[in-house]
Amino acid sequence: MQNTKNKKRIIAIIAGSRGEYGYIRPIIREIEKDPELDYGLIATNMHVLDSFGRSVDEIKKDKIKIFSEVHNTFDGYTNLTMVKSLSVFMLQLPEILKQMEADVVLISGDRGEQLVAAIVGAYMYIPVAHIQAGEVSGNIDGTTRHAITKFSHIHFPANKDAAERVIKMGEQKERVFTVGAPQLDELIAGKVTPTKDICKKFQLKNNEPKILFVFHPITEEIDNLEKHMDKVMLALSSFKYQTVIILNNSDAGSNIIRRKITEHRKPNMKIYKNIPREDYAGLLNTVDVLVGNSSSGILEAPTFKLPAVNIGNRQKGRMRGINVIDVDYNKQQIEKAIKSAMSASFKKKMNKCINPYGDGDSAKRIVAVLKSAKINSKLLIKQLTY
């Protein structure tokens, strides 16, 4: 390493999907404010894909500098192509980190690219810091999240529940910082497209009920995905309300979901691909119920006091606010839950809804830790507590 003394501390940030960008942007804004810190964003997977809306353009519009765009995703979206895609990312990342002279690798959530980055960082002896550690998700993502924990040197769980889980995995307490969920920072700071603009953009009548639907495939339930989607879409299309459907990410099975949505669509349903985060937040703020299995029902919807009908196992085990109604892949159950979520009594109950995941200051806390952490053997060499 040359000239390490005057060099700014460079944080390498990995962005692979739309969800993660919400964690990342408030953190980058904090890094930009600090003269001793710099960052390099590595955009990969669906961020650089046309068929998923090329959200990298949204990142550029936000004047965030992208150090590298890595095209890694193979077409086909099966379990096989998903793993193969990850291997391409793994092939390229070490060189990119070296070019960047990264001092810390910052990753978030529970997706494959993030695990790859954790492994690469750990093997290159670059400290790895992980946002949203210790939470539970009910599929391969959940496994990935905890595997990331084992490769990470600094953990940023969103709440006490998650922090305890990280510590129980044998991680040292001094590595764990309970910071809240940074994607809530912007929501709480009001980076939300106003309802008037949302109604115009998505052709919605504000005085009529509105449903937002977001559904992601679950890797190990892929054999049943068609059957599940039929039930879910039949339930959804039994409602005549205005419905906005946001198409899912590039996981195995996403093609099936797209086809099923197109098959079951009704004139009252509008389909959109990738939409800017402010607009997504605006939708959460505008609609009457969120239906599907997106983590935003658990993490973000409570901030807007928005009822969420959560279908299936994708969010299993995660801490919930009172806004969530859990249902199985069952037409009757889903219909009943949507009706109940849109009822006046449930709406009244929502006044008391508090978001268990954060207060809007997470990015500040994360950046403070990234800045002050001493990068030495104590940080880099991990001890299991048992």
């Binding site: 068929s51 353009d57 086809r259 197109t262 098959e263 079951h264 389909i271």
Partner: protein, 119 residues
């Protein structure tokens, strides 16, 4: 018009065809748009001259697939008895619309109604 006829005409492209092929179809059909379907004739959406122009201005290659730029929310009509009445009304209210896909209850394309230039 039957589905077999539809397949051969220049009002339909498969979602996996390129933007360039969609442009050729639009060029031939003189209606400024094509209907996009998948292999089983599920109606995926419509691509218009304007969608193509915007995508190219936005930096997209004409060899990309039409699925990437398809407007998934076109005006369409469910197959039934009043199809022509509805179509007439749409053509009257929306001067920019020249083709309207007709779909069955499973959203499969069964027909396309085309604006008569003399209407």
């Amino acid at each position: 018009m039957k589905i077999n006829d539809l397949k051969l005409n220049n009002f339909i492209v498969d979602k996996d065809q390129t933007i360039k092929e969609a442009m050729a179809a639009i060029n031939d059909n003189h209606r400024g748009a094509v209907v996009v379907v998948d292999k089983s004739y599920l109606m995926v959406g419509i691509v218009s001259d304007g969608d193509i122009r915007r995508s190219i201005v936005g930096g997209r290659d004409i060899m990309s697939t039409v699925e990437e730029i398809v407007n998934a929310n076109p005006i369409f009509i469910k197959d039934g008895q009043s199809v022509f009445g509805e179509a007439e009304k749409i053509f009257k209210d929306r001067v920019e619309i020249n083709i309207i896909p007709i779909v069955d209850k499973n959203n499969n394309l069964t027909n396309i109604i085309i604006r008569n230039p003399l209407m």
